[in-house]
């Protein structure tokens, strides 16, 4: 009789969708903390740094951070699966050099772009192959391909820098949207942003990415194609890096083997700052965008205030460390507060 009552009671059990109200879910997140910091920095910079408030600041900021923004999109997805791609900046260089070499050889520029993008996809596929099929750690693999792709880039072009590109294309890279101060390249980014936001947050594929990052085994047992997912992401990363290489070449009007050297660390720093866990499974694209912009605005404002690049480096480094350590610190604080009778046990252990 009692069981019957219990089961009726249970069958009318209702489930709320969420255990926290909407505003808490939206506002009390790691991403919002970064966005908040971004807003504060932007406001403080506008008020206190001479020259920061001009519209041209926005133009330069967008032009400067676009390659990082672009590469950060696939990097976010890769890092959410718990992997990493250190070779992106080298792919930027390689794609830039390929465009240079082909243009120099007289190939149509459109063809050069296509070849560069395909080469980027292949470079990503090589990374992906080594990580998923051969089963190597991505950190080691992409340290290797970081050297390899950069080496190919430098080797292909040697001493020269190709600087002669069709004006149509170089103008396109710097074109501003209808008389405003906003560079048109922002549109390219916005299109990709929509694609990646949908891919990560609104598709079954994206659900798989998070599952892989939180538990590779459980994802595999749930029918998520772990290897294929990672392979696709590495190919995407290579392709977007190559696209960033095209932009890089056009913006500076110069194809050089050493283009974008060291950019990988900036991208990863921004992604981690934006709330993506290097253990995988956590992070969202809006946080990453905020992370990129935060570093970009800080650098821009500090440069304007005649603060040298070294201080910008220190701030980037400290932000990075602080952002991961603060998480652990908060978790530690919470457990400390929650642990009952901590002192009593401390006494017991002293006695024993």
């Amino acid at each position: 009789m009692t069981t019957a009552t219990a089961s009726t009671a249970a069958s009318v059990r209702t489930y709320r969708d969420y255990d926290r109200p909407l505003w808490q879910r939206l506002l009390l997140t790691r991403e919002m903390a970064i966005i908040g910091l971004l807003v504060i920095v932007a406001v403080v910079a506008t008020l206190s740094v001479r020259g920061f408030g001009q519209p041209i600041t926005l133009t330069y900021l967008i032009l400067d951070v676009t390659p990082i923004l672009l590469i950060a999109l696939p990097m976010t997805l890769i890092m959410i699966t718990g992997e990493i791609d250190l070779s992106v900046a080298s792919v930027v260089g390689l794609s830039s050099v390929l465009i240079g070499v082909l243009t120099q050889a007289g190939a149509p520029f459109e063809l050069a772009i296509v070849v560069a993008l395909v080469a980027g996809a292949i470079a990503g596929a090589v990374n992906g192959f080594l990580v998923t099929v051969v089963g190597l750690p991505s950190l080691a693999v992409t340290i290797g391909t970081l050297a390899l792709y950069r080496g190919l880039a430098v080797g292909l072009l040697g001493t020269t820098a190709v600087t002669d590109f069709p004006e149509f294309w170089t103008d396109l890279a710097k074109m501003k949207l209808g008389g405003s101060n906003v560079p048109a390249v922002l549109l390219l980014f916005l299109v990709l942003l929509v694609v990646f936001v949908v891919l990560l947050h609104f598709t079954p594929f994206g659900r798989g990415i998070y599952a892989i990052g939180l538990s590779k085994t459980a994802a595999r047992f749930s029918g998520v194609h772990v290897e294929r997912t990672k392979l696709v992401l590495f190919v995407l990363s290579g392709t977007i890096a190559a696209l960033a290489g095209v932009y890089y070449t056009l913006r500076f009007g110069s194809a050089r083997g050493d283009n974008a050297t060291g950019l990988e660390l900036q991208v990863i720093a921004a992604v981690v700052l934006g709330g993506v866990s290097v253990f995988g499974g956590r992070g969202a694209i809006h946080g990453v965008i905020a992370g990129v912009l935060l570093i970009g605005i800080l650098a821009s404002a500090l440069r304007l205030a005649n603060v040298t690049s070294d201080v910008i480096n220190i701030i980037t480094g400290v932000l990075l460390v602080a952002s991961v350590v603060s998480n652990s610190f908060l978790a530690w604080l919470r457990t400390k507060r929650r642990a009952p009778g901590g002192t009593a046990r401390a006494k017991a252990s002293a006695a024993g």
Partner: protein, 317 residues
């Protein structure tokens, strides 16, 4: 931000805020040129500033040019890491009313107002080839240790050197050109590699101050000391001990301090509207006297100077 407080908006003829943007910071050559610039700017009461990237890449220079544009400085004096890559940024600066003077390493002529040339390329190439030919007796294998592979000025000189070698010294063969990226360690290691790769090497030309110092340091402790000649462009302070110990017999350079000094005065003349950069314009350059703008907006500092054991004690830079 003291450079910003130097005057009103850019283009204003009273804004004597002149910012120097060398290829990279921490390069003694540019330290010297900046000291000359500072002296000049002090003389005419302008505001001197120096900014720059840690590594000699054009994309890093672009960010600084953009920032200077935003700050609305009176003039930018830049030594270009790439003739093309920083062009658009410079043109945007000029559109915003900032005067642009290149020194040491030029960009394309249409993205700056003036180029202050330390010495004409021909003269630089000639003096270095003559020096090495003299030191190795006019025949044998030589190599070049340059800065980065894309350095505009070095590449131009190397091209001239090749032509001059072919026409005047047929017995000298240039076996290899390597690039030390204006980095001590790289230049040092490249010197070692050169000597290994070419056992019959007679001489090395290093047309960059970082390169020649690193090469001298390697040579001075190696078995090749005194056997392989070394010359190029260097500063007396860096090379003094190698001239004294016989690693180097002679080398050349203009006075980088004078280069910076002249650049500063040229920037001032541009800002104040005394000149526009057209051929034939003349301007006053303080203690250096009067200079005339040549074709393509180039101002020539003078002939390179030859340093050797007899005169090196007279210089301190």
């Amino acid at each position: 931000g003291d450079s910003g407080s130097g005057g009103g908006e850019g283009g204003d003829s009273g804004n004597l805020a002149i910012t120097f943007l060398p290829k990279n910071l921490g390069n003694p050559y540019f330290d010297t040129s900046s000291s000359g610039a500072k002296e000049a700017i002090g003389e005419f009461d302008g505001t001197f500033a120096e900014v720059g990237p840690a590594e000699a890449t054009p994309d890093a220079q672009v960010s600084y040019i953009n920032t200077l544009t935003q700050q609305g400085v009176g003039a930018i004096a830049v030594s270009a890491n790439d003739p093309e890559a920083i062009c658009d940024a410079l043109n945007e600066a000029r559109d915003a009313g900032v005067k642009v003077v290149t020194f040491d390493s030029d960009t394309n002529p249409d993205c700056r107002d003036l180029f202050i040339n330390q010495a004409d390329a021909e003269g630089i190439a000639k003096v270095q080839v003559d020096l090495i030919a003299d030191q190795i007796g006019g025949a044998g294998e030589i190599a070049i240790l340059s800065a980065s592979a894309n350095a505009t000025n070095q590449n131009a000189w190397i091209e001239m050197m090749e032509e001059y070698l072919a026409s005047d010294y047929p017995d000298i063969t240039l076996v290899e050109t390597v690039y030390g990226d204006d980095d001590d360690q790289t230049s040092f290691d490249k010197t070692a590699a050169l000597l290994q790769t070419h056992p019959d090497l007679k001489g090395i030309i290093s047309p960059t101050t970082v390169g020649i110092a690193a090469a001298a340091r390697y040579l001075s402790t190696s078995e090749y000391k005194g056997k392989v000649a070394l010359t190029g462009l260097g500063t007396p302070n860096q090379l003094r001990e190698y001239v004294e110990d016989g690693t180097i017999t002679a080398f050349a350079l203009w006075n980088p301090a004078d280069l910076g000094y002249l650049t500063a005065y040229a920037a001032k003349a541009l800002i104040e509207g005394d000149i526009t950069g057209a051929e034939g314009d003349t301007f006053d350059a303080g203690k250096l006297g009067e200079y005339t703008v040549g074709a393509d907006g180039v101002v020539l500092l003078g002939d390179p100077f030859e340093f050797n054991a007899d005169n090196i004690a007279d210089f301190d830079f």
